[in-house]
């Protein structure tokens, strides 16, 4: 609660800057229009015009808000929530690829980290390449993966999910390797004195103590897989999904559409990360770690 006032102040400042920015950036076009019409522009007119242009350079927040409402809430009210013009439909397309990619990436990441922790050869040979794989911009491969999989006849959800998976497995591997190695020697030795098998050591000691490391990784992975899904929609000229909305908006100069897709993606990311945060709180509390 102590933080609420500063946060609100900062958010208010961001909105103020946004409005000021849209006045400044949209002004040239307003002047241009007025000059061609041969009228003198008063400050009041200028302000009114910059707030309501059709293709503004920077749409003011309320225009974006209206566009989002028009393509979500109003669509629901009309009973056409899943029409092709509704952002809910596009968000769902992106969300499904994100979730599938996230699930695959998390599963793969956890398996890989178990292998790395328990197999010395794998640790030495795979781990450096896992790290190296992240120093190359994987998103650069996105268009190729999409087109190649398309050529073999796989299209739609899976290629996007593959890109999401690639982006999300890395944080999980790093976090889980750290987590699975977090029990100290005393604890491992204790397990040994109890004559615990390898399996028991894993399920009763290593896995539980890796949980505080897993959840922050999952948050990063979730955000990354959303980025992957959005970028995965760019190269094929896809017709559906938030990435497609961004691309379409940029082709036709529909700035309001770009911004509304952007804000929707942001809300989606925040919601997904927030859900993981909630699960983290509940799980760690029940395990007595938080």
């Amino acid at each position: 609660m102590r933080n609420l006032f500063p946060i609100l102040t900062v958010v208010a400042a961001i909105f103020a800057l946004w409005y000021a920015g849209s006045v400044v950036l949209n002004a040239p076009w307003a002047y241009d229009k007025a000059e061609r019409a041969g009228v003198e522009l008063t400050t009041k007119d200028l302000f009114a015009d910059t707030m309501s242009q059709k293709k503004p350079k920077l749409p003011p927040p309320h225009q974006v808000g209206q566009e989002i409402w028009k393509t979500t809430g109003a669509m629901v009210a009309k009973g056409r929530a899943f029409s092709k013009r509704s952002l809910i439909y596009h968000s769902w397309i992106t969300l499904s690829a994100t979730l599938l990619g996230f699930a695959l990436g998390t599963g793969f990441g956890i398996l890989l980290s178990v292998g790395i922790v328990y197999n010395r050869t794998m640790d030495m040979s795979v781990m450096p390449w896992v790290i190296a794989s992240q120093t190359i911009p994987i998103l650069a491969i996105a268009p190729m993966i999409i087109v190649v999989l398309n050529a073999v006849g796989i299209s739609g959800l899976l290629p996007k999910a593959v890109i999401s998976m690639y982006l999300s497995f890395f944080p999980v591997v790093v976090g889980m390797v750290k987590g699975l190695r977090s029990p100290d020697h005393m604890q491992v030795d204790q397990m040994k004195t109890w004559n615990a098998t390898k399996g028991q050591e894993f399920w009763k000691l290593r896995l539980p103590s890796s949980m505080p490391f897993l959840f922050p990784s999952l948050k990063v992975a979730m955000a990354a897989s959303l980025v992957g899904a959005i970028v995965g929609e760019l190269p094929t000229g896809a017709v559906a999904g938030l990435g497609a909305r961004l691309l379409g908006g940029s082709y036709y100069g529909q700035t309001i559409q770009i911004w509304s897709a952007l804000i929707t993606a942001a809300v989606l990311a925040a919601a997904l990360v927030g859900i993981i945060g909630l699960i983290q709180k509940v799980v760690l509390k029940r395990m007595g770690m938080a």
Partner: protein
């Protein structure tokens, strides 16, 4: 069939060699050799699989074909590299990280900003900022300036969050000690807090290296002059000239690794005192 068998045999031999090497006491040589063998065996298996199954080069070109393409189109690749990595990514990286660093010091100075801006910054850092690319292209034109702008936005928040965290890494005892020395705020900053923040700062810088390249490349998907790595990748994919795409990916991988490696070396030189830099074992 022969190719497949050869690949399988090579994989078996390489894996046995790695198991044998990994069981030996860890030295610098084995630490380098094991991942190298693993990498080489992947390339060899790739080559053998492509030849063995006679895979269409439109789907997956063999490493040898990619190498030939790479060698014959070095001038194009170099021009793309300069356009995207040097002009776009590097300038954006420097501006973005510099701005974030200064902002972090300002935030650190004023606790009010810290409590307000940091949660917002943490929030923004998790958002799909890459989506800003079409807007930046619209604002700053098709050339590298718009790519640099995308990179600035992408690296700003991770860098900011890390630097602020680093500036708080000193504990009360240390700060109180500076107080007893009657050190001023700039003195405390220069002599105690900035050095202590360096591991975190470099963490931010290292994360930002990959983000910068990704940002510059993806921004080119939204419009670019007729050179640049993102432009080349998207057009050659359209023409199904995958060997060229892979050559471009090799360039991206090399550039990314060199960039990351350079920052890591710098980190080693600056934070030689930090426990994570000490030789373990």
């Amino acid at each position: 069939m022969g190719w497949l068998l050869a690949g399988f045999v090579f994989w078996l031999v390489a894996w046995r060699a790695n198991v044998w090497l990994a069981a030996k006491p860890r030295t610098r040589a084995t630490g380098l050799l094991v991942p190298t063998i693993f990498g080489v065996s992947i390339i060899v298996i790739w080559e053998c699989v492509v030849r063995g199954f006679d895979i269409n080069p439109v789907l997956l070109p063999a490493p040898s074909v990619i190498a030939v393409t790479f060698a014959t189109s070095i001038p194009t690749l170099w021009a793309d590299f300069v356009q995207t990595a040097i002009k776009g990514a590097l300038s954006g990286y420097v501006i973005g990280c510099g701005a974030a660093f200064l902002t972090a010091i300002a935030i650190d100075r004023f606790p009010f900003l810290q409590r307000g801006l940091l949660p917002v910054g943490n929030f923004v850092a998790a958002l799909p900022i890459i989506g800003m690319a079409p807007i930046m292209v619209m604002w700053f034109g098709f050339d590298w300036q718009s790519k640099a702008a995308v990179v600035v936005i992408m690296v700003f928040f991770p860098m900011l969050v890390n630097t602020v965290e680093g500036l708080q890494a000193t504990d009360h005892m240390q700060r109180d000690l500076m107080r007893t020395y009657a050190a001023s705020y700039p003195q405390t900053l220069m002599k105690l807090r900035l050095p202590a923040a360096m591991p975190f700062v470099f963490n931010g810088l290292k994360i930002s290296t990959t983000l910068a390249l990704i940002g510059a490349i993806v921004a080119e998907f939204f419009g670019s002059p007729i050179k640049g790595m993102g432009f080349r990748i998207s057009t050659e994919v359209g023409r199904l000239a995958l060997d060229m795409v892979w050559a471009e990916i090799v360039v991206a991988a090399l550039a990314g690794s060199l960039f990351y490696g350079g920052v890591a070396l710098l980190e080693k030189a600056v934070t030689f005192w930090h426990p994570s830099q000490r030789k373990s074992r």
